[in-house]
């Protein structure tokens, strides 16, 4: 065990576990961070990706050191979402650089740029506040490319004396960028959206939809009690479970199947992709749980509607949908989704009474 001071503790303040020691600079002490992840970093990262931890994974903005940086070392600007910072320090293992963390309220670079919190003014403020001009002798900041929607690099020089240069989109390309004298290829400038990433960002929807699913579960049993359950407890339970399985299938289709097959489903709008995919996957609950052909028909309509809704919601997780496009497809498909769901419920209820 290190004595508290050696582990970075000061009166009333304890350092993050990733702080190795403190570098003495002309602008004061700067925490030097380890590139290695500890068990708690992995656990918290999983918790964040699953949803519950993602709104509170925040670290203090300011200047950090990695390796043995000096006055000529590059300065990389990033957000204060700790998962991003952790990825950055890990991927830059072996390099010496300064990391300037700005306040984005624990939000990642791309979303913070969308919200305008990763702003030109915020970057300039952090540069001045940390006394960066006394730490390094050059006057260049390397900005994440995806901060572009909210950082006007050409205005930085006037605001804080440092000029901004946009690095690559991905942290993985940073090493090559630094080693090539800050050259960025066209490939490094393009966002990609490969399968693992498509599913990774879908995972968080499971947590996000928990209240909706609870409400849907209750609604299924209430509706089942109005006829389709045949007014017996086992009947109501069976019909309710069948209906809820349909909702779940629609959710899983819109949230996982459509993103997984994204470009392979021919239509451009996400809602249309969901309609088609949901009509196909509906055969799963319909085949397993439906009693009659009429019920199966209702399940296909409902599953299609829910899959369409959740696929449409996935637009926010992608890096290529425009506001104008999303606006148009919502106006077009929300009435369709509502109509299908209403028809499904009516068929289910009325079918039980005939």
């Amino acid at each position: 065990m290190l004595p508290p001071e050696a582990a970075g503790e000061q009166a009333g303040l304890r350092a993050w576990h990733f702080v190795q020691d403190w570098l003495s600079t002309a602008a004061g002490l700067v925490p030097r961070v380890s590139p290695k992840w500890q068990l708690s970093d992995y656990v918290r990262a999983a918790w964040v990706r699953l949803g519950p931890g993602r709104d509170s994974y925040r670290m203090a903005p300011g200047l950090y050191a990695l390796g043995n940086p000096d006055q000529d070392s590059p300065v990389l600007v990033t957000c204060n979402f700790k998962l991003t910072f952790d990825t950055l320090r890990n991927k830059l293992a072996g390099r010496s650089c300064w990391l300037l963390v700005v306040e984005t309220y624990g939000i990642n670079v791309w979303c913070a740029a969308g919200k305008q919190s990763f702003s030109t003014e915020e970057v300039a403020r952090r540069v001045r506040e940390t006394g960066l001009d006394r730490v390094v002798s050059h006057h260049t900041l390397i900005l994440p490319q995806l901060a572009g929607p909210s950082v006007a690099a050409y205005r930085l020089k006037k605001l804080c004396g440092f000029k901004g240069v946009f690095g690559p989109v991905r942290i993985e390309d940073l090493l090559e960028f630094l080693e090539s004298g800050m050259q960025v290829s066209r490939e490094m400038r393009l966002v990609r959206f490969p399968l693992p990433q498509r599913l990774e960002v879908a995972l968080v929807e499971v947590y996000g939809v928990r209240r909706f699913l609870l409400g849907a579960l209750l609604a299924c049993f209430v509706l089942a009690a109005l006829g389709p359950g045949g007014f017996t407890l086992t009947g109501i339970a069976g019909a309710g479970v069948g209906a809820f399985a349909t909702v779940l299938t629609g959710f899983a289709t819109g949230t996982f199947v459509v993103p997984a097959l994204l470009a392979r489903i021919p239509m451009r709008s996400f809602a249309a992709k969901g309609l088609l995919a949901g009509a196909v996957t509906a055969f799963l609950p319909a085949g397993l749980l439906a009693g009659t052909l009429v019920q199966a028909g209702a399940q296909i309509l409902a599953c299609s509607a829910f899959a369409s809704w959740f696929a449409m919601n996935y637009t926010g997780s992608t890096p290529f949908t425009s506001l104008s496009g999303v606006d148009r497809e919502m106006r077009l498909y929300m009435p369709v989704q509502g109509g299908l769901l209403l028809a499904a419920i009516l068929i289910w209820l009325i079918g039980a009474w005939i």
Partner: protein, 97 residues
């Protein structure tokens, strides 16, 4: 992005007459909508634009205009709901992600 194409719907407006050829728009666009053709930028793939607004913000000549926004159904929906007087207290276009 060539693999994924959306509805090719964008409010992007580019005025080549104002362009000074600095190349900032090429540096920030995640879909490489612009290319440098000689001394000026050329809008080569307008349909790939996702209206993130990075090019317009980083254009010192003011040659690019776009209605900046987030292509997220949830944000759009909350934006609509926030226009209803009573719901305004609960929903804001900014509550997601």
């Amino acid at each position: 992005m060539q693999e994924f194409r959306y509805l090719e719907e964008s409010t992007l407006q580019y005025d080549p007459d104002k362009c000074i050829g600095c190349g900032n728009c090429l540096a920030v666009c995640p879909h490489q909508v612009f290319e440098l053709g000689g001394a000026k930028a050329e809008c080569r793939d307008r349909g790939a634009c996702m209206e993130c607004g990075a090019c317009a913000l980083n254009c010192p000549a003011g040659a690019i205009q776009v209605r900046q926004g987030v292509g997220c159904a949830e944000a759009v929906l909350y934006g609509w709901l926030a226009k209803v007087p009573v719901l305004r207290r609960v929903f804001s276009p900014d509550v997601c992600c």
